[in-house]
Symmetry: none
Subunit: 203 residues, 4 copies
């Protein structure tokens, strides 16, 4: 979705555009964010934007990514899977609370409901790495006997992250450290190997 054409492109302009988009989005809101406003703020022609990005959401996605360079792929592995996930989720949830990422991320998730291409790009560039790392960590814990091995690691990721996103997107309450810890604890109580005898059939 970004820089499809690797040819001679003014990186200064590109940065100014992404910066203007991020700032304006925070100031006026995603709905009132427009290409003209971004161009004016960035001191750039509209064409220069249209030349390199197909839509305002693509610009914001670029901006969001560059604001999220931390805690990406280095999933902690201390041996204690529960503690590791607490650490990781708390870190990941910064994106949902920091004022320079939260509104943009929420807006993009909202827009992605209407834009399959954006949804795909977000998955590819924003989430797939994190989810893959989490799945790996879970598999590792399963091999170590810490987690029931009959459960799909993807399901466990959903159980862990789902409540956070649900609270954030539907209930509009940003996730706090306490809340995350309780959630992770409760989920792991259900997936821990020690409770392998838990009812696994359906009713």
């Amino acid at each position: 979705m970004p820089s499809r054409r690797p040819e001679r492109r003014n990186e200064e302009s590109a940065k100014a555009i992404v910066r203007a988009a991020l700032d304006l989005c925070r100031e006026v809101g995603y709905d009132k964010l427009g290409i003209e406003g971004i161009a004016a703020r960035a001191g750039v022609g509209k064409n220069t934007i249209y030349r390199w990005w197909p839509s305002k959401s693509a610009i914001l996605l670029d901006g969001l990514l560059s604001a999220m360079t931390s805690a990406q792929s280095d999933f902690p592995d201390t041996g204690d899977v529960v503690a590791d996930f607490k650490t990781q989720i708390v870190a990941a949830c910064e994106t949902l609370t920091r004022p320079d990422t939260a509104p943009h991320y929420a807006a993009l998730i909202g827009a992605a409901q209407q834009d399959a291409e954006l949804a795909n790009a977000m998955w590819e560039r924003l989430l797939s790495h994190l989810v893959a790392a989490a799945v790996d960590r879970i598999r590792h814990a399963q091999r170590q006997g810490q987690i029931r091995s009959d459960l799909d690691p993807d399901l466990i990721v959903e159980l862990l992250y789902g409540p956070i996103y649900y609270g954030w997107l539907i209930r509009h309450s940003p996730p706090g450290r306490e809340h995350i810890h309780t959630t992770v604890d409760t989920v792991f109580a259900g997936v821990a190997a020690s409770s392998a005898e838990a009812r696994s059939g359906n009713g």
Copy 2:
């Protein structure tokens, strides 16, 4: 949000407007849905729309509500809380899959990320009843000793519904019956009273 003014209002036009909005939204997508299009399709003047609704999302919310008259407040209580939630969530998730509700609901959730008033209206009119009923059912199970009583019922609702919404909104995979059952089973394994000895919160 709707019919705040109880004065003489043409119910035929109102129905035509809501119907036109629902149909057009499915046909052209929420983004390209516009008041002019709705008015034209409904054979109605634009003023008639603006007189009774403040925005396209308000119209869609009215339409979505009237398409969701089923399975609202009658939460089952068979004594088996796990089975009851499976039943209820499967029913509730129809909204996330039926083609006459899913796109509108997703669009509204997306739009609500930018519109606090809409978010509030959706909570009030769409979700609060369901969540309250679920909370009640959980409290009942807690009193019966089926669920650990040290857990906030709201948290449990999040654990149950969160993964579903996460899968739907973020991963864009509609929830299936199997998936729901597994999710509910796994969550209840963690919240069941029998696993009360599970670690309930370390640092």
Copy 3:
């Protein structure tokens, strides 16, 4: 070309648009005249212009016509055809010299070289009446024996007006009264009935 749709139209806006077009054309020139400028100057939305006129030239044509309400169809007939044409041509040539008509008329003639529809509209609304009146006057003089009756009246009109327009459009010298009189005298010397013996064959 103007007001094709007679429906409810704001005449105040229409007047403001035509006035703004005339004024701006004089101030910045026809080439730099644009719909946006006219709209801004007239305090009007662009749509209101596009609704009633297809192009800037159509607006100017309307404006030019309303500035030329004088000396239209009342061709003088004093019995002296030469004097009558002097009177009439001098009057008609005001359009080519008055600062509130000359630049617009020149611009429209220029634009008409690239726009057959405009050319047609100008002929129909601007010139055909005048030419028809002149032809009538010539026919009358022919019946009275003042002008050779073997000559096409249209040719005589060309001989009379052609040099004026040529001087104006090609040589860019505005026609003066003396010049017009000399031209008319010289042409009538060639078409007068008294010189009927003039060589009429070709070489």
Copy 4:
């Protein structure tokens, strides 16, 4: 207006540019003719055009001149001034009818109404020679007693060419041989020395 800078200039490119301009003007019309289109068609960078010409009209003027190398300065002088002018005007009017010159010439005359520099260049490079030659021929005829010597030769040129241009630019009818001959005959009837007794100026 053209090649002011005599430095190393690629004559192949120059020719390609002029050719492209002429062709494109005929194909898409003067209004839609643009520098970008010319550059693309000529396989040339835009800068190469801007380096040597200030505007599209300057390119077309160059092109038009090179397409009019015939019948320029060699005004016939057979002794019969009427026949000579018939010959000359018919030749000159080829420019107004040939499909490789007529549209460009009309476009340039139209554009010159808005561009004094272009108007000047056209007079200097296109017309002044022809008019000077015609004036010379008329002076010669006056000295020979064929034409009234009290008339300004310039006026006679206007009388001869004016009707042609008027018919072409205003009435949009290309000049035909018959029409030219009749016009010339009638004009000369008025200016011939034999009709010197014609009224030469009353009030």
